[in-house]
């Protein structure tokens, strides 16, 4: 066998003066980095296995541990970076397709940070949300062309099904299997208490979670795992997953080792069997076929649930979105290329798709031009990091946003990008009972509530500053945005003016 050319990515630094050999780190690291050497009575570390998840650092009672970037340098070369070199070593050694987790880490422009918000001064008074009413409720779903009333003033127009969100934020799809039962429970309970929604992902819905159905969006992906009549009727809405921002055009693959008894019962497949989601839905090769699936779902749920269609932000997203609206979807989810994932081929994650900001702006614009914007709601997803991103998304035309990475960070994710190993030390992206136990849903769901409530407050504050008292008045209100440090073409696509204009 040839020698392994790969060097550690991180270095575990132990302050021997502080270390009391308590072995907490040994027990806590599922990657078996730390080991106690009885003879020498010291704890040693194998840097090679460390993924930099901070678990040991935070749990070390004497703060004896630090993790640093491994400081081995290659000769400086802006083209052949250490990442580029190490990737070749990996592939030359294994012959494998590189697999990564979480979202695109490359330094592409982040347009949220290139847009600035407006506030009122003098002419249009700002509003104080602490003392004046401020509406952040939104209704997702198809809105009728017009409303008709009978002679007694009774509404006779049939209103398509709507989802009522107290706050325009939902938890995006993360399947049971890719994340743990306790993580799911935290999301479900937080969504219920906040009056928002969480999404099952494509892994089916565990029977124990049917009770959160009022706040659940059930997903239907190409593998149709766990999809049956009960499942479709268990949630408040149904989402057809066509694509995902982190891996547009790629199917899903949950390795058999993660399909334990519980996941098998939820997905309704045998234990240990790979759960493969084909890249396309093989009953959808056209917009007409998509319509057929949308309506089969409506038929089996008595037209009572809105049907969302989720696509990855790709080059011609606007035209596709128009087709989706015309196919009868009640909402379009547009997932940008920075969206997270449990596992995606690295090359796809890092190179396919476009930023959600641009896709969102063009979709909203296109649907307006075609006069069909009212027919669908738009949900923006793919790395929404804070409340300002949300305000900007809504001003660009979104009705609501989905968050997933931010939600798991609230649950303790330390963004180590090692989800695909199934050994998440924080009990999130794992099915190992010992690790899952580390995430206590009784505590963690409250952290999600804290996060969303805080963001809601900030949204209200920003709206108030603009002199707006309802989130509905912000939607598509691009006059509230100005660009900074971007070119004319970018301004044109975003449909905004430059700062100072």
């Amino acid at each position: 066998m040839s020698i392994d050319f790969n060097t550690p990515a991180f270095e575990v630094i132990r302050d021997e003066k502080r270390c009391i050999q308590c072995k907490v780190c040994v027990q806590q690291c599922a990657n078996s980095v730390h080991a106690y050497d009885e003879e020498e009575d010291i704890v040693k570390a194998d840097d090679m296995k460390c993924v930099n998840c901070h678990r040991c650092v935070l749990l070390c009672p004497t703060r004896a541990l630090k993790i640093k970037k491994y400081s081995l340098e290659f000769k400086e070369n802006a083209n052949w970076t250490s990442t580029a070199i190490n990737e070749i070593y990996k592939q030359a050694q294994t012959g494998g397709v590189l697999l990564s987790s979480m979202g695109n880490p490359k330094p592409f422009p982040i347009y949220w940070d290139k847009m600035l918000l407006n506030a009122s001064q003098v002419t249009n008074p700002s509003i104080d949300p602490l003392r004046e009413p401020m509406e952040t409720k939104v209704m997702l779903g198809r809105k009728p062309e017009k409303l008709e009333f009978d002679l007694n003033g009774k509404l006779i127009t049939e209103i398509p099904p709507q989802l009522e969100l107290n706050i325009p934020i939902m938890f995006s799809a993360m399947s049971y299997g890719s994340i743990s039962r306790n993580a799911h429970e935290s999301l479900a309970r937080a969504a219920s208490e906040l009056g928002i929604f969480y999404n099952t992902g494509e892994g089916g819905l565990n029977r124990d979670f049917y009770k959160y159905g009022k706040n659940t969006i059930v997903q239907v992906a190409s593998g149709r795992f766990g999809v049956n009549k009960d499942y479709l009727n268990a949630g408040a809405a149904i989402e057809i997953k066509i694509g995902q921002g982190a891996k547009p055009g790629i199917g899903g693959h949950l390795p058999g080792e993660k399909v334990d008894e519980d996941v098998s019962a939820t997905r309704m497949i045998p234990e240990g069997s790979d759960a493969i989601s084909p890249a396309p839905h093989h009953d959808i090769y056209s917009i007409e076929d998509l319509r057929q699936l949308i309506y089969s779902l409506k038929e089996v749920t008595d037209y009572k649930k809105p049907v969302f269609v989720k696509i990855a932000a790709v080059h011609n997203a606007a035209a596709i979105a128009s087709g989706i609206a015309r196919a009868g979807a009640d909402a379009i989810v547009i997932d940008g290329f920075r969206g997270g994932t449990g596992a995606a081929p690295t090359r796809v994650r890092d190179n396919v798709g476009i930023p959600v900001e641009l896709a969102l702006a063009t979709i909203d614009q296109r649907l307006r031009e075609e006069g069909i914007r009212n027919q669908v709601s738009i949900i923006a997803a793919g790395s929404i990091r804070n409340s300002a991103d949300i305000v900007k998304a809504i001003a660009l035309g979104a009705d609501a946003v989905y968050i997933a990475s931010a939600a798991v960070i609230a649950l303790g994710c330390h963004m180590c990008h090692a989800c695909s190993t199934g050994k998440c030390n924080w009990g999130i992206a794992t099915q190992e009972p010992e690790l899952v136990k580390r995430l206590n849903p009784d505590i963690m769901y409250k952290r999600l509530i804290n996060l969303i409530s805080a963001w809601n407050h900030e949204i209200q504050e920003i709206l108030g500053g603009m002199g707006i008292n309802a989130i509905d008045s912000l939607r598509g209100n691009r006059l509230m945005l100005r660009g900074i440090d971007i070119n004319d073409k970018e301004l044109e696509i975003l449909g905004i003016k430059y700062a100072g204009e």
Partner: protein
């Protein structure tokens, strides 16, 4: 027939009205006959056990989608995606079926008198006691049993013309569970690399006998000449076909 069989004339009815009427009727009469069916979609969608529907004409796509135990008998051909994501129930087609019949079905049975189209049985699964079965009297198009994860497909390969093949190309490609039984073999080049020929055992022969008998009963055909021992069986090479394809990073 016999007991109070309710008849619905589907002529000029759109699918939403028709399917609603079927559901309402099924609350009272479990036995329903549909006449003049011309392409209405989703017939039988989500219908539960004990409901039995005889369909005259040509039902549209996605017949029996998410079906949950009902029995449909079609006197005519069926179109695409018969039994899409079906959970349980039985479908008997006195004719042929289009593409993607049994897409992702998890339970229940589909018997087709004639041929089936492309991608039939794609991503069929099984779960505990649920084992879906598709039996077709004739041949199948390309990608039979693609991504198959469970259940069984049986092709009886009857009435083939001289130059006609039993299956198309890419049979069992991406297969990671389930079984395909062919009355005759498919050419090696037509087989997906995830599928492999396996020897029949006693259980297979009993299984095949049972379903051949059911086929002859449903379609009133004498199949004594069909020899289950001569069938060829294909299974997945393994249930984790892509295990070594990736390097985590």
């Amino acid at each position: 027939m016999g007991q109070n069989m309710k008849t619905i004339d589907a002529l000029n009815m759109n699918y939403r009205d028709l399917n609603n009427l079927i559901s309402e009727t099924a609350e009272v009469d479990k036995n329903i006959t549909l006449g003049n069916v011309y392409g209405q979609r989703y017939i039988g969608r989500g219908l539960p056990k004990k409901v039995k529907i005889k369909i005259y004409g040509t039902p549209g796509n996605d017949m029996a989608a998410y079906m949950d135990g009902a029995e449909l008998e079609i006197f005519g051909n069926a179109q695409d995606a018969v039994g899409n994501t079906m959970n349980d129930g039985k479908i008997i087609v006195h004719g042929s079926c289009g593409d993607t019949a049994g897409y992702s079905m998890r339970g229940g049975e589909i018997y087709v008198e004639g041929n089936v189209g492309y991608r039939v049985g794609i991503h069929m699964k099984e779960y505990r006691e649920m084992k879906p079965i598709i039996v077709a009297g004739g041949k199948a198009g390309d990608f039979l049993g693609e991504y198959m994860a469970g259940g069984a497909i049986i092709l009886l390969g009857m009435n083939l013309k001289k130059d006609e093949d039993l299956t198309g190309r890419f049979c069992g490609t991406g297969m990671h569970g389930g079984t395909i039984y062919l009355n005759g073999k498919t050419e090696k080049y037509k087989l997906g690399k995830e599928a492999v020929k396996v020897k029949l055992d006693e259980t297979d022969i009993t299984f095949l006998k049972k379903h051949i008998d059911l086929y002859s009963k449903y379609f009133k055909k004498d199949l004594t000449a069909l020899k289950p021992e001569l069938f060829v069986k294909y299974c997945a090479v393994n249930k984790n076909p892509y295990k070594n394809m990736y390097c985590r990073y």
